[in-house]
Amino acid sequence: MSDRRTVTEDPALRESLSGLEASARLPATLPPAQFPIETLVPEVRQQTPAVGQRATRPDARLHGLGQTKYIDDLALPGMLHARIKRAGIAAARIVRIDTRAAEAMPGVMAVVTGRDVPVNSFGPSLQDQPVLADERVYHAGDGVAAVAAATDAIAAEALERIVVEYAPLPAVLDPFEAMREDAPRVHPPASNVYAHKIIRKGDVERALAEADRVFEGRWTTQMVEHVPIEPHAAIAAWDANGRLTVYSTLGRITLGRADIARTLALPVNRVQVIGTIVGGNFGGKNEISQEPVLALLAKKAGRPVKGVFTRGEEFYASTTRHPFFMDYKTGVGRDGRIRARKVRLVLDGGAYCSWSETTLGKACILATGPYRIEHVQVEAFAVYTNKTVAGAMRGFGAPQVCFAYESQMDEIAAALGIDPLEIRLANAFDEGAASPTGQTLESVVVKASLEQAAARFGWREPRS
């Protein structure tokens, strides 16, 4: 570059500035240059018809230039930084929270606990999750207090000075143990089984009894994190009319706004939620998390407040994919046709319901696979444990049940000496097939996808 201007910031001038605010927010010495490259429009974006074009993305140009403003790239004047103290214990009664030492720290502008939350519960179907745990801790990632300070480092240090006294409770960590009558209740007095679903078609017991061969097996899947490269982030700012603006990485802002308004006991029209470009979601940013906390801190401090999850919080304080325990019993004819399939699913939901009902529903509907099966029974349970919350994650239970039904399909194929591709073609849905819920299926191309993938792969060619 030819332009070699020297921007000098005199150290002596810096030293003469005193106080936390000055060191917290050094003035930007050189804002990044941003210039339009507007004449460079890819041809494909100019073509009609628009549908079917491999159109490039205008937002991707900004990503590649580093010009996209994700939440953490935004700074409002006077903005504070928030941190949330996590319980670090799976089940306990909260005896006492002492925030005095944190509040006394220079640079700390506000501290809140669960008692400050007007309506301390939320959740997409069951409102069983506290914004900040107040009386009871349900899993180790629960927030128990939050701090807003001039810098992130001060906020982090202030968390260390908050004293929380816990009376530990027996934790339930295994979903089958949790299903026992004598198990400790995660949310007393409610049952640990908080969602249950059944799908029934035909007479599965009779068909299993009459089948040539019956295959049985259990498959299990693990808890998985979404790992968006951008952590959860939000900024809350109030105006003098008592109107709240929240910038958030939420993927569903309309419903998020309702949740934020509900927890803060505000009319919905006093809340504005702005979703900027989100740095990855995969289902993990589908519900509110720290937004009401930041709003309360901002209200108390009279300043905008930003919160960005640490990578650790991404794991233990956001949602995850449900671990599944899947029992399959499948009755098959000698010809490889599936006559009956009986499925039992147990979902480890962790501490709160979150999107478990949707996950349970989709898993049940999909559990028998894309196959014509006359006799079907699927029963599923979502169970509370004192572990990290399981919620929405790319597929809502579908990757789990697919692992089971497609693994068993290959077991059946191997036992009957049928090629794995052919047994699938023999059983797959056709156009107009009836689903396990009795729905008539249209635009069904499962066989076409099998044939297309097999041709591309060279499945039917002789193996080397």
Binding site: Q47, K201, L255, C402, V445
Partner: protein, 337 residues
Amino acid sequence: MRRRGRGIACMWYPIGFTVSANPSAATVKVNEDGTATLLTGTVETGQGSLTVLGQIAAEALGIATEDVHVVSADTDATPMDTGAIASRTTYVTGNAVKLAGERARAILFEAAAPMLGVKPEQLEARDRKIQVRGFPQRSVAIGEAARHALVGKGEPPIGTASFNPPTVAMDPETGQGKPFATYVYATQIAEVEVDDETGEVEVLRIVAAHDCGTPINPMLVEGQVEGGIAMGIGFALQEEILFDDDGRQINPNLTNYIMPTSLDMPEIEVDIVPSHDPTGPFGAKGVGEPTSVPTAAAIANAIYDAVGVRLTALPMTAERVLAAIKAKRAAQPQQLR
């Protein structure tokens, strides 16, 4: 010794979700020059939904992708949307965008009809023109029609619409009902190499044939499939949140929670299965989530094909694969492969 195997898995996946209503609304505003602005309440989370929705709006108006500017994700300014969730955006929000575009287009047709001496029903919008169906040479530029509607007739070409997929509630006793408007289908085939001394699994190649209805933007569909497969490989082989006996996570960091890097990715070949859903916008369904659904099963089946052991628990780490190989050898020493 490294042994090669192949495995196939197919799947089906519904578009949208069932717990409650699932609506989206959209507004399309056509400007004086025939460009347009689309307002949507959805949030771009990386998948390219704003580009796809822009393409749908452009198609409804007969203009190009570049002609539509998309404004999103502000509850004060953009219409209600159930959100970027459950692979619903192309289908549900896309349908709302298409309907909104068609409403704006109807206003343009009303304005253009007298200019062309025909009835509005005889018009179509194509190639940035409004033309008489069957007589494409009788046309006006869309910008002219828009300007006439705006400054001539004083009727701004703005359309707003909403869409909620028609479903039938499921019977609580039997689960019978129509829980989703439509479904997509897919097959993935994995080729792997398994080291029978270490249990290590390397995925060499994945062929994926996915149905998404009409691909509104095939390049972005491929991107979804490739990314979904990466996530599927992590689910299959690497990723697991572990807990200590007290219910605290052991590995809440990217040092000890292993997700796929560029070194873990196989050759991926993506095929889009020809399909058209009459209920979707221009035949489209959706593609986001299903792309990571069959990967783990395809890899599990390929491991079985390679070394004859069936893993029933994910992730299929080298330790678990090796343990299964050893167990098999112990049970059937004479059948060593």
